[in-house]
Every structure is written in C-alpha cells, then in structure tokens.
Symmetry: C2
Subunit: 207 residues, 2 copies
C-alpha cells in the first residue's frame, strides 16, 4: 500500500515553508529578501543556497517596483519564461534566444547564441527585470553591453548554472554590477527554476 | 575590464564535460548511464548528484528505444517541456497541468492540480516516457494510478523537487516501480532542468 502523503496545496506549502524556516536561518535577511530566499530554496530543495546569495542593497525594492509598474521581464531561455506565473505578472515576457536574428548574430560576433540573444534586448533594457537562468555567456555579454552604454535594467537576476563561466560571471556581476541592482547566487548552482522563483517572489510583493 | 571567458560553444561544452569527468567518477556507470549522469550534472552544476541516482537496470535502453520509436513524452509542468530540444525529438510532448479539466478534477479528488493532471495521461501512458520535474504529488498519484491498472509507461523519470514529498515519492518509486523502468534522484533535489536533461540524453542515443 502507498505511504500516506500530503495532498492539500495549502498544507503542502505550509509544511514546505516550515521546513525551510527550520533550516535556513532566514531571520538574517530583511523581510523582502527573506521571502525571496524562501522561494528560491523551495524551488531547488537546498537550504544552504541562502549562505551564497549576493544581493545589492536596493534589489528587492527595485524589482518589486519595476514589476508593479509593468516593466518587461527579459529571460535568457524559454524555461525561465515557462516558469513564470502569468496571473501574478503585468509584464511582457521577452525571450530572444530563438529569434531568427540570433544565430547569425552569434556567428558574426564569434560567441554563443545565448550571448548574441542579449544584443536584441537593448531596446527594452531600460528599467526592465532581466532573469538569467541558464547561460553564463548571456550574463557576461550583458555586462559587456552595459560597459558599452546599453540602457540599464532595474534589476539583474543572475542565476546561470554550470561548470564553465557560471561562478565567474556571477562573481563579475557582484564585483561590478555596472550601476544596476542585482540578486545572484555565487558558485556553480543556479538554473531557470531559481530565476523564475525570484520573479515570482518579487511579483507577489510584500507577504 | 571584463575578465576573459570562453565564447565558443564547442569549447564550452568540452571544458564542461572535462570538469564533470574530473569530479563525478562516471566510470562507475555503464556507458549510457554515464552519459545521462553527465548531462544531469551539467544541468545543475552539482557532481555529487551522481552518488544519489537510483536507476532500474534497463532504464536507459528502454528510454532510448521509446524515444527512437517516437513514443510520447509526458511532462508534469511546462518548464520541463520548454527545456526539451525539439529538433532531437520525434515525440509528441504532452503537458496536461493547464488543461481546463485539471482544476475541477483536483477539487473533485481532493488533491493538487499536478496530481489531477496525471489522470488525463491515462490514454497516452502505454509505452510513453514520463518526465516529472516539479511535483511530488504527480509522482505519487501516477504510482497510485499504476496500482489501479493504468497502462505502464516505458520509463518514469522521477525528478520532483522540494521539502514535502519529493524524497518520499522518489523513495516509493525506487522501492516499487510498479513494473516500470525508472531513473530518479534520491532526496530533495530535482527539478525541470534535470528532467529535461534526462530526455535530452536519451533522445540523442549512444554518444
């Protein structure tokens, strides 16, 4: 016979929140960031990511304000966009990775499609919320674009993942965010679930 | 000035594969499973997940055969579907979470939408590849359905994530897979990126 398990969505969320609070020492954070960290941890099942968050002082407020005003959400891959709960968002969601212009641009620039895709963000960057949940090269290329004078997003959510460039691109973001607010997770971990969870927490506003 | 970083996709993949091979002891696995473990690790940045995989003996072959024959891929959430590389897949991709029948079914059954969504899989389960990357209740409900005589999928990819039911549902799958092949990651970790990466590895076939 099947072991018993929780089926009520509210009871599941309550038990999940309680489990995270028991393990993650969220009281170290201001309220808004504590809520965001909670949602990130629920998305990945790893309380210890709370120890590796790097966040600019105004990031949560900047993200909430931008989303409340309907600023666009710009994602580096379709998985981030698919993870957004649209009923909580007034924003347009933009993904340029599969735009027909991206692959030729990547060849012309000698870089990845993910990096080239950020070139197509320029018109929409001003005041936007950028959510990078996959590609280190997208974050690196965005930072290079900002160095060249691209418009500044309101917030950069830096959650690229993996073994080549993820830790390095996020360290670069933390060390010099080019005047933008940012929320990032140091090291190799990250991914579209975390990027989407961050947007979800910011879109809901204060709990 | 920006630190230097790799921009060539082939060089990035090569460096990433080399990093994983240095850390994850993939030689413990047969070739097909080694390749799948590699892709899972790249998707999450965590070599130690190799130590917590639980896999039925015929799982990789069953998954490859099913996908090569164009069997449907049934996902528990849109993020898994969005993570699939469609050019490598002949399969129809099915997600019923947002089907209009799902929410009323969840209320009628007293369970989550994710669990209720699996009720709509029954006609397509025979020989399918099921990819669960989000909801423990979807995996639990599928196992209960199999106990009631639902058709058997060729392979269950069990990657639900989180603090309530994820570890338990995956332990249940490993302990009694109801005659199905399975690949799962014990514990709280999982997620749509891993579920999608598993499909990607199986769809490509032998390296």
């Amino acid at each position: 016979p099947m072991r018993p398990y929780l089926k009520d969505p509210a009871a599941i969320d309550e038990a999940s929140v309680a489990a995270v609070r028991r393990e993650a020492r969220l009281e170290r954070f201001p309220d808004g960031l504590a809520d965001l960290a909670l949602r990130l941890i629920q998305a990945c099942g790893m309380p210890d990511i709370a120890d590796r968050l790097s966040v600019s002082p105004g990031a949560v407020e900047a993200g909430r304000r931008a989303l409340a005003a309907g600023a666009p959400v710009i994602c580096d891959c379709e998985m981030v966009a698919a993870g957004l709960i649209r009923r909580d968002l007034r924003s347009e969601v933009i993904v340029t990775l599969n735009d027909p212009a991206t692959a030729p641009m990547a060849r012309a620039l000698g870089t990845t499609r993910s990096a080239a895709a950020t070139e197509l963000w320029q018109d929409r960057l001003e005041g936007a919320v950028v959510a990078i949940g996959d590609a280190p090269t997208a974050l690196f290329h965005l930072l290079e674009g900002l160095d060249k004078g691209w418009p500044k997003p309101a917030l950069i959510l830096g959650f690229p993942v993996g073994f080549v460039g993820a830790a390095e691109s996020k360290a670069e973001l933390s060390a010099d965010p080019r005047g933008c607010d940012f929320i990032t997770l140091r090291g190799r971990r990250g991914g579209p679930s975390m990027a989407a969870a961050a947007i979800g927490a910011l879109a809901k506003g204060p709990a």
